[in-house]
Symmetry: C2
Subunit: 365 residues, 2 copies
């Protein structure tokens, strides 16, 4: 089995106590910079509240603070990008003059390791973890432009982050994701993703795991792999088939553009990937992201999220896969979630998945 | 028990075969106008597809047509408002020179009575019903401005529509809702709502009904009424308490501004309301909508949706209530659904429900 390329992790602590980890290939400068900013009084208290009418948890992030939770795009521009490397004149979130990949605790976290408060069946402190993953120190890059070794380093950082989150028994499930584009509310354009660790099973993960467990109990097989295989045979919504991965538009896609990228092997979580699988993904994924931007010739706002098994405990049939979806339904039009989607939970997709797949295949060619 | 004010319904058929119903108070002119437009070839075929990975149905509205599904805002402006009354020069969707309340089949329906196609466990024709409910012939009004008798007439039209949908045994659940505001993608500004009848139980309705049924089995009581009662006693998120209704911000609100308006009596569906309840709602609801627009002094984009029992069959513990929510989190900022909400199903609310309630109470005062 091919070996993983060497990665050096350097752990650091920011002035206000938040954790930061550099991930570098050998030969990078030492990561010994000091966060010289005055420690800002953090008030990251958030609360989990369960809606008795649906049984679902909401993160109420503003329950103790009056202040704005996240800086506006304007504020961010005025202050300069907090995800760029520091310079002698300006200290950012990353106390280094360059970096490769960095993972650190979000300054405006919805969930924290230290949240405290009352606990009832319908109310709990907002225990969890919200991390930022910077993909590159190049402010103007997109993930789609990074070379394969950098994407592979990102995968290694994701996998290591997931493995480390397993050490906290309070964390139940983790979502590794990227929000890209002002059209979905992203104010920081510097290429970055996020990791959220929840102290409960998120509802959509629960539904994915339920269906996977039923199929596994019935057939002994992995549902997501069976679906990916069927899509490969059917071919009409297939985008790519490589040694270790397939990519297809789901037959029941909720979003105008939606892609599922599935490893061919039963893998529960990101830290279960083998080196050759990750290396192939590092070539395939930027290609697919470029196709997404090329489909209409305008950048696609997108959410990309890895679904995986819960952090602890067995989940029969659970399968790692990456879901990428965009709200863009025309070069100049977005899909909005209105009554049917938001109130009833029924998505209406105006673009046939077969048509979206054909457009993406053309952009891939 | 007070009697319902008299309403006259006039059924009509549009040139392309769609149904239209006028709801008028006595004394209105006869509704005998003829739709003189050339019947346009409709191709309303849509398909329901179940995602095996989640078990949920998506409506794929574009699977047979290449054409744009809905007109753009620009196209609508160029053609004039299709929801205004007709004039001698311009025939609209409503072949009358004035009207009070009108309900008619959507010209661009996601679901239709006549959809046909193959049927498999994961694929069905898009059987259902999508209706438009015009609240007034005044293009520039908002529901919040209508007088109580008009709002009561709207309630009567809603209730009658729900009762009529029960006649089609293929329809399982119906959502009566209003999407308001360009910020949530609404292109037609003429005050109107919609009715969607689905041939399956929508996922969010399923979760509401499951929790209601469990509570009913455990206690013999109605969950939504118990929660509304508790909110009234707690008072901190209460907005209004009248003889027949309470209105509160849910303790686990998902959206920056969210209001639940619940009748005090166990009522399964809109057509179970009594006249005095409806009459009181007709005063309360516009007040609450005005408070929503007044909270920041800018119009709130909102979705307002009635949750109710399925169209047929018993649903123990099911309770009618109206949910109104807005994506506006600051005068100049919206909440976007990104990774946590869209991929994992976990909402993060930056505005404490207690604070939203205080703002709305101030606007109500």
């Amino acid at each position: 089995m091919p070996a993983w390329p060497e990665v050096r992790r350097t752990d650091a602590v920011m002035a206000d106590g938040r954790s930061l980890a550099y991930y570098d290939r050998p030969g990078a400068p030492p990561r010994d910079g000091i966060d010289v900013r005055p420690p800002e009084a953090a008030d990251p208290a958030s609360q989990l509240r369960r809606d008795p009418l649906t049984g679902e948890w909401t993160i109420v992030a503003g329950h103790r603070q009056e202040r704005t939770f996240q800086p506006t795009a304007q504020e961010t521009r005025a202050q300069g990008c907090p995800l760029c490397p520091s310079t002698p004149e300006r200290a950012t979130e990353i106390p280094a003059t360059d970096y490769q990949v960095v993972v650190f605790d979000n300054r405006f976290p919805a969930l924290t390791r230290t949240a405290a408060g009352i606990e009832t069946p319908d109310e709990r402190p907002g225990i969890g973890r919200c991390q930022v993953v910077c993909f590159t120190d190049d402010h103007d890059a997109r993930l789609a432009d990074l070379d394969a070794d950098r994407v592979l380093l990102i995968v290694q950082a994701w996998a290591d982050s997931v493995a480390r989150l397993r050490e906290d028994p309070r964390l139940v499930s983790c979502l590794v994701f990227e929000n890209r584009g002002a059209d979905i509310g992203v104010t920081l354009t510097h290429p970055h993703g996020q990791v959220y660790a929840y102290p409960f099973l998120p509802p959509r993960e629960g539904r994915l795991l339920d269906a996977a467990a039923r199929h596994h109990a019935d057939t002994g097989r992995i549902l997501a792999l069976d679906v990916a295989d069927a899509e490969e045979r059917d071919a009409v919504r297939l985008l790519a088939a490589t040694d270790h991965w397939t990519a297809h538009v789901p037959r029941a896609a909720r979003w105008p553009f939606e892609v599922r990228i599935t490893p061919r092997r039963a893998i529960a979580s990101l830290d279960g990937l083998h080196a050759d699988e990750a290396a192939e993904f590092a070539v395939l994924y930027p290609r697919l992201l470029r196709a997404l931007d090329d489909a209409y010739g305008v950048p696609m706002p997108y959410v990309a999220a890895w679904h995986q098994a819960p952090l602890a405990g067995g989940a029969p049939g659970a399968q790692l896969f990456l879901e990428v979806f965009s709200t863009r339904r025309a070069p100049d039009r977005l899909k909005y979630l209105a009554g049917s989607e938001s109130a009833a939970g029924v998505w209406i997709n105006d673009i046939a998945p077969e048509r979206a797949a054909a457009m993406l295949r053309e952009a891939l060619a």
